[in-house]
Amino acid sequence: MDPNPNPKKPKAIKSCPFPDEVLERVLSLIDSHHDRSSVSLVCKNWYNAERWTRRHVFIGNCYSVSPQIVAARFPRIRSVTLKGKPRFSDFNLVPEDWGADVQSWLTVFSTVYPFLEELRLKRMVVTDQSLEFLALNFCGFKALSLLSCDGFSTDGLKAIATHCKNLRELDIQENGIDDLGGHWLSCFPESLTSLEILNFASLNSEVSFDALEKLVSRCKSLRVLKVNRNISLDQLQKLLLRCPQLTELGTGSFMQELISGPVTELKNMFSNCKNLVTLSGLWDATPLYLPVVYPACDSLTFLNLSYATLRSIELANLLSHCKNLRRLWLIDTVGDKGLEAVGSCCPLLEELRVFPADPFDQEIFLGVTESGFMSVSRGCPKLRYVLYFCRQMTNAAVATIARNCPDFTHFRLCIMNPGQPDYLTKEPMDEAFGAIVKTCTKLQRLAISGLLTDRTFEYIGKYAKNLETLSVAFAGSSDLGMEYVLKGCPKLRKLEIRDCPFGNAALLSGLTKYESMRSLWMSACNVTMDACRVLAKERPRLNVEVMRDEDGSDDSQAHKVYVYRTVVGPRKDAPPFVLTL
C-alpha cells in the first residue's frame, strides 16, 4: 500500500516475515483486550493470528454484538466477561424485565465453546435454569463470577456446586438473588478439591458449618475465602486453622457474646495467615475483637471496612498497624477524625472509598466532610481512585485536594443533597471540578455532583482529554453543558446523565460521536421523541432505545433514553416498554 517503500526493504514482501506459529506464540502472551484490538488491526495475518489465539473475550455491552458473531470470530475462547444493563440499573432506574438475559449466549456457547472455563457477568439477568444449563453443558467449567446480577436463587448455585467437578472459583457479589437457604454449599461433593476462590459474603442464609469446614479442609489450594455474616468468630477460628494460606479473607460477624477460647488464640490464627493481603467482612466489629486482626495488618494491601460501622478511634487504632495499605473502603461513621488517621497511617494509599451509613437521613449523622477528604489528600499523595459520599464540600477544599493528589484517574464525588452549592461561599461547585480536570491530566473517570452550571462542563470539555466515563446528575444550565463535553472529550466512552436540563440540541450535537462511544444514558432530561427519531434515522449503527414511563403520560417526551453502538441492529428481546427507534 505504501507508495514510497523503504528502499532498504527486500522487494514484494506483503506477507508476514515469520511463520504463523511464531506469530501465534508471541500473540498468545498478550492478555489485555485493548492491546489485542490494536494487534488485530495491523493486517489480515495479524487479525487471524490474534483471533485464533484469543482465550478471553470481554464484551462491555451484551447488545453491541451477538454470540454468533463472537463465536465466528474467536474460535478458541475459554473465558467470557459479559456486561448487560446500563449502570443506572444499580439504582433502580431501569425497570425489571428490561433484558440482558444470559441464556441466549449460553445456548450458542454450549455448541461453540463446549470447553468454556470462565464466565464473569455483570448486570445480567441469570435464571436458575441458566445456571443449571451452564453446570450441565460445560464439563470443564471452572470459574463463575456474578456481580450485580439478578433473576436467580440459591437453587441455581446448587446446580453449580453439584455438577461443576472442576470448579475453581465461585464469586457471588451483591446480586439480586432470591436467598432460599444455605443448602447449596452442602451440594459440593466430597470429591471436589479444586476450589481456590469462594465468595458468598453477600448471601444471607446460614450454610452448614460442617460442610464448609470440610470443604475448606480438602481444598488445599484455597486462597480466597469470603464468608457471610452468619459465620461466627468461633467458626472463623476453626476455618483459619484449616486454611492459613489464604491471601484474601472475608470474615463473618465480628461480634460474639462469648467466644469459646481465649482471644489470644484467635489472634494467633491471624498471625498464622502470613499471606493475607485482603481483609473484608468484619460485620459488627467492635473494639472488643477487632485487635485480633492486628498481626495480619502489616501485609494488608486492601482493607474493606465498608460493612463495619467503625468509629474514628477504632479505625485509628486499626490503621496504625496497616502501613502498607493501597486500597481502603470505609463507612462514613469513621468521620473526619477517622480520615485524619487514614492520612497519617497510610502513605501508600492509592484508592479510597467512603460509603454513607445513612444515605437518606440527613439529620442523624453528618458523616464525613471536606475536612476529612483534605486530611487524606495531605497524607496520601499517591491517591488515584476516590469515591466519596458527603453532605458538604467546598471549591477550595477540592482545589487543595487536586493539588495534593495530581495523579487521580478516578474521581467520584457525591454530595448527597442534589444541587447543593459550596456550603461556605454558596457558589456553584464549578471551580472544584475545574480544578480536578485542570490538575489531574490522567483522569479517566469522573462523577460530579452539587450545584453546577455549564461552566463545569466547559472545564471538562477543555481539559479532561483522557476522560472515558462521566456521570452527571442534577447539573448544568443549558444544552451547552452537554455539548461542551461531547465536543471536547476525545476519549469519552460512557456518558450517563440524569435530571439535567439538556435537550434535543444537546443530544443531537453528539450525532457523530456516539458511534465512538460504548453508550449514552439520559433520563429525566429535556429530550423529545422526535429528536430521538432523528438520531436513530441518521445513525443506523446505533440503537436508540426509549423507555416509556409507567403512567404513559406525555408521549412526546423521552423520559429515559439509552443509546449504544451495535453491529447487530435493534435487539429482538426488548420488552413492551422499550421502544427502539
Binding site: 444499580d90 457474646e257 445513612d358 453528618l366
Partner: protein, 182 residues
C-alpha cells in the same frame, strides 16, 4: 435526642453569647450514635425485605435512585438500622404458653435478669414457674424455654443474662411434663 451539650461548658475566647459555627457542630454531631434514634422516625418506611430489585421509598429522599448507592448496600444498611433500633428501644419477643389461646409480647430490656423475667411471665400468664436450679431446671408445672439464634429450643436460665438477651428469639412456656429430659 440525647446530646451532651458541649457548647454550654466549653471555654472559648470571645464575648459571651457569640457563637462560632461549623467546627463545633461537626464535633457534636459526631458524638451522636446511630443507636439513639427515635423509632417513630424510621418506623414503617424502612423495608426489611431482602429483595434488592425494589427497595421501598425512604423517608427523606424524594428522588429515585439517589444517592447512587447499590440496592444491596442500601438493604444491608436498612437491615442494620432495624437491628439497632431493636437494641436501642427494646427487644420484643413473642411469648407463647402451652394451652393459652393467644401469644403475648415482652420487652426483654425491661428486665434486669432472669428473676425479674420470671416474675413478669408468671404475672402475665398467671402460672407458677418457680425457681431455677442448674441441675434440675424448674421444679414446677411449667418450664420456660426459648428459641435461640440457631433455631434450637433451650431452657431459660443456663446462660448469662446478657448472652440470653442477644440470642433469644422467642419464648415458650412449656408444660413440665412435655420437657424432654436430656
Amino acid at each position: 435526642m440525647d446530646l451532651i451539650n458541649f457548647e454550654a461548658t466549653e471555654l472559648r475566647l470571645g464575648l459571651p453569647g457569640s457563637t462560632d459555627e461549623q467546627p463545633e457542630i461537626k464535633s457534636i454531631t459526631s458524638v451522636v450514635s446511630t443507636n439513639k434514634r427515635s423509632s417513630s422516625e424510621m418506623g414503617s418506611s424502612i423495608s426489611d425485605e431482602n429483595d434488592s430489585s425494589r427497595s421501598s421509598p425512604p423517608t427523606k429522599a424524594q428522588v429515585v435512585g439517589w444517592p447512587p448507592v447499590r440496592s444491596y448496600r442500601r438493604n444491608i444498611l436498612q437491615g442494620k438500622k432495624s437491628d439497632q433500633s431493636e437494641t436501642g428501644s427494646g427487644i420484643y419477643v413473642k411469648v407463647s404458653m402451652d394451652g393459652a389461646p393467644y401469644l403475648r409480647k415482652v420487652d426483654l430490656k425491661m428486665y434486669k435478669g432472669y428473676e425479674e423475667l420470671m416474675k413478669g411471665l408468671q404475672g402475665m400468664f398467671k402460672c407458677i414457674i418457680g425457681l431455677y436450679s442448674e441441675m434440675e431446671g424448674y421444679k414446677s408445672e411449667y418450664a420456660p424455654t426459648y428459641e435461640d439464634k440457631d433455631g434450637d429450643w433451650m431452657l431459660v436460665g443456663d446462660v448469662p443474662w446478657d448472652m440470653f438477651l442477644t440470642s433469644c428469639r422467642r419464648l415458650r412456656i412449656m408444660k413440665s411434663c412435655d420437657v424432654i429430659e436430656s
